[in-house]
Amino acid sequence: MELLLSVTIFLTFGAVFVLANLVLGYFARPRIPNPEKATVYECGEPVIGSSWVQFDLRFYIVALVYLIFDVEVALFYPWAVAYGNAPALGDAIGMTTSTVRGVAIVDMLFFFGVLLVGFAYLWRFGYLDWVRSAATTSLKVEYQTGVDLRREARVLREV
C-alpha cells in the first residue's frame, strides 16, 4: 500500500510538474512570431535541404564500430584494476599474484581477441571502405549486363 502510494505521488508530481511549467511558459513568454524561428536549429548556419533525408547506411557502420571499441575500453578497466591490485586480491581469495594476473590477462585477451577477429573481418572484406567494390557486395551474383537489378530484386507476392 505504501509502495502504491509512493508510486502514485511520483506519477502525479511528474505529470503536474511538466504540465504546470508548460502552462506557466505559455502565459509568461512574449509572442513575437518570426519565420526564422520555425527553421531547424543548425548552430546558426542556414539549413540546406530537408532534414528528413535518409542518411547513408555507411555512417551507421562506422558509428557501430566506434561504439563497440568505445565500450570495449570501458570494459578494459576492471581487468586493469584487477591486474594492478593482484597481490591484495590474491590474498583475499587465496590465489597467487601471478595466477590472478594470468587470469586477468587471458580474460582480457580473449575478449579483445574476439572483437579483433570481427574487426579484421570488417576491414579485410571491405566493410570499412567508403566505396565498396562489386567484388565484396552480395549484388554480384544476380548481376548480369543489361539486367535492371532493382527490377530483379522486386518480388511480387501473390495475393
Partner: protein
C-alpha cells in the same frame, strides 16, 4: 583496495569445474570465431565455412555428450548466473542436432546460389543465435535471461533479412525487428519491476522472497505487470497469440533454412526458458498458491494463451496456399500445444515428482520438441527441394508429386501425418504424451485436452490437403531431379519419426530421465556478500 573489495565483493575466478558443463557453448564460441577467420585463408569460403560450422556443432554436441555425467555438472555455476541440469542438457543436445540438420539443409538448398563471401556472415549469425538459444535453457538470472534472449534475437533479425535483394525478406526482417524491439522493451520493463520488488536478479531468490513476505496490495499489481512483461517477451519468441503476427511474414520472407531454424530452435528455446523461470519461481513458493501471487492465475493465463494460440494457428493455416506460411501457422499451433503443457509447471501435484525436480510437464515438452524437430526439419527440407526445382512455394504446384518425385512425396506425407499426430509416426506419441500429462492433472486441464483434440481436427484439413494434392491431383509436370543429399536428409527425418514411434519406450525413458530441473531448495541460502555484485542483491 579494501574499500573497493568491500563495495563490489570479492572477484570471482571460475575454475575448469565451472567451465566444463558449458563445453558445448564454449565450442560454439570457438566455432563462431573460426567461421569468421576461415575466409582469410580460403578463397571460396561459403562451403568451407559451412563445413567449419558443421564440425564445430558436431564437436559441441559430442562434448556435451561427454560431460553429461561428469561430477559437478548439475547445479548452479558462475554464482548462479547459469544453471546446468539434465533438462538444459537435453535441450542443448536437441538444439545442436537440429542446427547440424539445418546446416546440412543449407548444402542442399542455398549453397549453390549464395553469394560467395556471404557464408561466413551467415554461419556466424546462425551460430550466435544458437549460442543464445543454448544459454536460454540454462539461466535463471534476470540479467542473463535478457542477455541470452537478445543474443538469440538480434542475429535472428538479420538472418530473417539475409536474402538482401528480396523485398519480402527486407519486409520480414523489419517486421521482426520492430516487433522484437517492442516486446523486448516490455519484457525488460517488467523484469525491472521484478528486481525492484525483490531486490535480487536470481529467479530462485525471487521465488523465496515471494514466499517470505507479502508486498502489499500495490505490490501485487506491480508483480502482475512484471510477470506480464515476462510473458510478453517470451510470448513473442514463442509466437503465442497475440504476439504471433510476425511469424507468417517472417517465415515467408526468410530463406527456407532460416525459417526452419526459427520455427523450431527459436520457439523451443523460448519455451525452455519459460519452463525454467516459471518452475524456479514456483519452486521458491513451494508450489503453493501464495498471497503475493496466485500461481493458479498464472497457470490459467498461460493455459488460455496456449489454447488460443493453437486455435488461431490452426484456423489461420486453413486458408494458406504457400507452404512456408502454412508451416508457419502450423508452428504457431504446435507452440500453442506446448504452451498448454507449460501451464502445468506451477502445479505441485503430479507435475513435479520427488525432490529431484523431475517434472513430467517438462518431460512432455522435451519429448514434443524432440519429435517436432524432425517433423519440421523434414517438411521444410522437402519444401526447399521442391522450391529449388520448381521455384514455387505454392502448394498447388505440388500436384502429382507422387509421380514426379515419389520419395520426396512419401517423406512429405510422413511429415504431414506426423504433424497431425497420426500413428504410426512419432507425432502421435508427442501429442498423446502432452494430452496425457494435461489429463494427469485433471480439473480444468481437461478443457485443454479437449482444445487440443478439437484443434487436431482443424489441423487435419490443411495437412491432408497437402497430401491430397501430392498424391491425388494429377499433373503433367515433368519429374523433379531433386538433390540427393536433401532427399537423404528428408528420408532420415522420416525414418527418425517412424523409429521414434516404434522406440517410444526408450524415447520416453530418455526424456523422463532428462526432464529433471535443478531447483534451489528452500533451505539453501545465498551467500550474501560474495554474490552481491553478480546477482545484484540489494543490501
Amino acid at each position: 583496495m579494501t574499500h573497493l573489495l568491500a563495495a563490489i565483493g570479492l572477484p570471482y575466478i571460475p575454475g575448469w569445474d565451472e567451465l566444463r558443463p558449458f563445453a558445448a557453448d564454449l565450442w560454439l564460441i570457438v566455432t563462431i570465431v573460426a567461421v569468421l577467420i576461415t575466409p582469410f585463408f580460403i578463397t571460396r569460403s561459403n562451403i568451407a565455412c559451412a563445413l567449419v560450422a558443421l564440425a564445430g556443432v558436431t564437436l559441441a554436441f559430442l562434448s556435451q555428450l561427454l560431460v553429461r555425467n561428469s561430477p559437478h555438472v548439475i547445479g548452479e555455476h558462475f554464482r548462479g548466473l547459469l544453471v546446468m541440469d539434465q533438462f538444459a542438457m537435453l535441450w542443448k543436445l536437441l538444439l545442436l542436432l537440429f542446427v547440424a540438420g539445418v546446416i546440412l539443409m543449407w548444402f542442399t538448398t542455398t549453397a549453390s546460389n549464395m553469394h560467395e563471401g556471404d557464408g561466413p556472415e551467415f554461419f556466424a549469425l546462425l551460430l550466435s543465435a544458437t549460442l543464445g538459444m543454448s544459454l536460454m535453457a540454462s539461466t535463471s538470472n534476470l540479467l542473463m535471461l535478457v542477455l541470452s534472449v537478445e543474443m538469440a534475437s538480434l542475429p535472428s533479425y538479420v538472418l530473417a533479412g539475409f536474402r538482401k535483394t528480396h523485398r519480402i525478406g527486407a519486409e520480414a526482417s523489419l517486421k521482426y525487428v520492430l516487433f522484437g524491439a517492442v516486446t523486448s522493451a516490455v519484457m525488460i520493463y517488467g523484469l525491472s519491476f521484478l528486481y525492484g520488488l525483490y531486490g535480487t536478479l536470481q529467479v530462485g531468490a525471487i521465488g523465496h522472497a515471494m514466499a517470505a513476505g507479502a508486498i502489499g496490495v500495490g505490490g501485487n499489481a506491480l508483480l502482475a505487470v512484471a510477470l506480464l512483461g515476462l510473458i510478453v517477451g517470451i510470448g513473442f519468441k514463442v509466437s503465442a497469440v497475440p504476439f504471433h503476427f510476425w511469424c507468417p511474414d517472417v517465415f515467408e520472407g526468410a530463406s527456407i533454412e532460416v525459417t526452419t531454424f526459427l520455427s523450431v530452435a527459436s520457439k523451443g528455446a523460448a519455451l525452455v526458458l519459460l519452463i525454467r523461470v516459471l518452475t524456479t519461481i514456483a519452486a521458491g513458493l513451494g508450489f503453493a498458491p501464495h498471497a503475493g501471487m496466485s500461481l493458479a492465475a498464472l497457470a490459467g493465463v498461460i493455459g488460455v494463451m496456449g489454447a488460443v494460440t493453437c486455435t488461431v494457428g490452426n484456423l489461420g493455416a486453413l486458408v494458406q496456399t504457400n507452404i512456408k506460411r502454412l508451416l508457419a501457422y502450423s508452428s504457431i499451433a504446435h507452440a500453442g500445444y506446448m504452451l498448454c503443457a507449460v501451464s502445468l509447471l506451477v502445479r505441485h501435484k503430479a507435475t513435479i515428482v520427488g525432490e529431484d525436480g523431475n517434472s513430467i510437464a517438462a518431460q512432455a515438452i522435451l519429448l514434443y520438441l524432440a519429435v517436432y524437430l524432425f517433423m519440421n526439419l523434414g517438411a521444410f527440407t522437402v519444401a526447399a527441394l521442391i522450391y529449388r526445382q520448381t521455384g514455387s512455394e505454392d502448394i498447388t504446384h505440388y500436384a502429382g508429386l507422387s509421380r514426379r518425385s515419389p520419395l520426396a512425396a512419401a517423406c512429405m506425407t510422413v511429415f504431414m501425418f506426423s504433424l497431425i499426430g497420426l500413428p504410426p509416426f512419432a507425432g502421435f506419441v508427442a501429442k498423446f504424451n502432452l494430452m496425457w500429462v494435461l489429463g494427469t492433472n485433471g480439473g480444468w486441464w481437461w478443457a485443454l485436452v479437449a482444445v487440443i483434440g478439437l484443434n487436431t481436427i482443424f489441423s487435419l484439413y490443411y495437412y491432408v490437403r497437402v497430401v491430397k494434392i501430392m498424391y491425388l491431383t494429377p499433373s503433367d509436370a515433368p519429374a523433379l531431379n531433386v538433390n540427393p543429399l536433401g532427399l537423404g536428409l528428408a528420408v532420415a527425418c522420416a525414418a527418425a519419426l517412424v523409429l521414434l514411434f516404434i522406440g517410444l519406450a526408450p524415447l520416453s525413458r530418455v526424456t523422463t530421465n532428462y526432464g529433471k530441473l535443478y531447483l534451489t531448495s528452500q533451505t539453501q541460502q545465498q551467500p550474501a556478500q560474495s554474490t552481491a555484485m553478480i546477482t545484484g542483491e540489494r543490501r
